[in-house]
């Protein structure tokens, strides 16, 4: 028994060490704040428009309610990060402001729970359903239930792998590629006087669409500019402490010769900032630090001059979602995908964009 257990354990451990960077034996998601937002693992969900040209006969006839009757049901995936909490609060706030009835439920990261959540929302008479999917595939039975009744479904932040127009109306999400692009452009502009820009990219948990796209967008710009020299590409798993340590190590080995750090989230940017400061580097003079997310803490750090810039990945886009619902009710045809426009924030515009934070 012991030997078998020992064998299983060793194997598990070795597998964990080799195979998975992030969630090894995790049941819970170790990822912090904002990085998991939008379609988590489902790669198709970001670009539903291309492969989804349903024959007009297949398209579902959505039954939009009138403005007076509108009762929105929002099936939130979980409340396990500040990002999600703020996302739910934002939905509630906008619904209240516009005087619509809304019921919000939370699946706590459980797919089965989310399906029954949607069923109970339908039973409560919700006539428009907004879903932040726990899982892009497993949500399908819930979408089918809505389809039967013709209740319009809007995917928010985390999509479905179903067909837009048939399984759901449309999908609202942040565009991670654009975020990476903005970060690249910001660094290119800030270092315009340099011949080659020595860049350190501090990556999140490898394997997620967020990391893939935030890196992809950044590299797009790097390829276009042609003078980005990636001296460091290391992961710090979205953790502030790990980023601090990775940065301390690379600053030592490169002798501090790094022009800009690009971090896949703000937590890591804050960690890198600490490492740079203790290595005696002055942020915005010796080195630029750019993050992604737009946490209030980062905005404050930008004001203090300990972070150079951040690209927002705001959880507050309920306004756009409700605009979409209103357009649907007015009989307009909706696009199948709406990218949420994010903003590069630095010392010049931090005040005016402070409300995008979370």
């Amino acid at each position: 028994m012991k030997k078998v257990l020992a064998l299983i354990l060793s194997l598990t451990m070795i597998c964990s060490l080799t195979a998975c960077g992030g969630a090894s034996m995790e049941g819970e998601n170790p990822a912090p704040e904002a990085e998991t937002e939008a379609p988590a693992e489902d790669t198709d969900a970001q670009e539903p428009a291309e492969d989804a040209e349903p024959a007009s006969g297949d398209a579902t006839e959505w039954v939009w309610p009138s403005k007076e009757e509108l009762h929105v049901g929002y099936a939130q995936a979980d409340l396990a990060s500040t990002w999600r909490t703020v996302e739910s609060e934002d939905m509630q706030r906008v619904a209240d402001e516009r005087g619509y009835k809304i019921t919000i439920v939370n699946a706590e990261g459980d797919t089965e729970q989310q399906i029954s959540d949607v069923e109970s929302l339908l039973a409560q008479g919700c006539n428009v359903i907004v879903i932040t999917a726990v899982d892009g595939d497993a949500i399908q039975p819930a979408l089918d239930k809505c389809k039967e009744k013709g209740v319009p479904v809007i995917m928010k932040a985390r999509g479905s792998n179903g067909v837009p127009g048939v399984d759901y109306v449309t999908f609202f999400s942040s565009d991670f590629v654009a975020e990476g692009r903005y970060a690249g452009e910001w660094i290119a502009k800030a270092c315009a006087d340099k011949e080659t820009i020595k860049v350190a990219e501090i990556q999140g948990i490898l394997g997620g669409t967020d990391v893939r796209d935030r890196s992809g967008g950044f590299h797009e710009v790097a390829d276009k500019e042609g003078n980005f020299d990636f001296v460091v590409e290391q992961t710090a798993n979205f953790s502030r402490t790990e980023a601090q340590e990775v940065a301390a190590n690379v600053l030592q080995s490169t002798g501090g010769e790094i022009d800009a750090f690009y971090c896949h989230n703000d937590e890591m940017a804050l960690g890198v900032s600490l490492a740079c400061q203790s290595a005696g580097l002055k942020v915005n003079e010796d080195v630029y630090i750019v993050g992604v997310d737009g946490m209030y803490e980062t905005f404050d750090a930008i004001k203090d001059g300990t972070i150079s810039a951040t690209i927002t990945c705001t959880p507050k886009f309920a306004e756009q979602v409700f605009d979409g619902i209103e357009a649907g009710m007015a009989g307009e045809t909706l696009e199948t995908f709406y990218a949420i426009e994010d903003v590069p924030v630095d010392a010049t515009n931090v005040e005016e964009n402070y409300d995008l934070g979370f």
Partner: protein
Amino acid sequence: MTKKKGITLDLAFFKKNIALILFLALLIFNIFATNNFLSWITFNNFFKQVSRVCLVSLGMSLVIATGGIDISVGSAMALGSVLAALGIVHESPLLILFSVILVIAFGCLAGTAVSKFAILPMVATLALRYVMRGMAKGISGAANVTYTAPKLTAFFTQPVIGRVPVHFFILVIAVVVVYILVNKMKLGARIEAYGNNPVAARNCGINTVKIVIFCYAVTGALSWAAGMLEAVVVSSAHPSTIGTDMEIDAIAATLIGGTPIDGGYPNIIGTTCGAFLLQLISMMCNMNNVSYPVTLMLKACIVLAALYFHGIGKRSR
């Protein structure tokens, strides 16, 4: 015959000191191969970074020596540090004290479940792993707890006595204390006896329940300390990221160090070297910009190599 004896002796030496040998070899390699490696800053960085996994591994060695395993250490780090960070925010020393007691209490709970109610250690600590991570998230509202305590932060980030980081002293004290507990007191023999054969140990009149609870409790306390060290550098405790995958690293360090996974003598010096070795690999990969997947594969190779050497000794017995 004599030749054969010589080989066995060599193997025994390798088996006992494989972690130390691999660590020294890698250290020498880095001194020549890595840019700016030989410096006080690297020394500082190394001890700041190795202290967490080393502390947890010490506890893990004791637990593994009893034939158990504790996969809740990462969650314990998160719960302890989040509570303590809240204590700092609200300027409540009581809450900080409570955070230590709570984490140790969970350790005792695991120990009791394992020794008294014969629940598999993996199962008992798996449950606690979810419970403690869940509590950490619940208490903090799933958001990171950031505090400002310049004096505290400076204490842990500024080197003392010239150039040595505080972490170095914390680590030395912890290793020495655990080493003495295991090697110079009866406890070590009792743990080993229990790990080798729980029934025989009980029949010899050893209070096995007490021994096991003690080991899990110590692991809890060390996890709390490791969590604090992770939080204090950045003045913030994040309930989701603190301590992730720590159990894996701690188990790996213990195995590299030569503590048998099915119970037996806890090799404290081995564990320490194992933790050092793992951290040195991470650091080396950072400093030479080796990609993360390769880093993990390197670590896996080291674990395999160490297990191979430990295995040889066993078979020849």
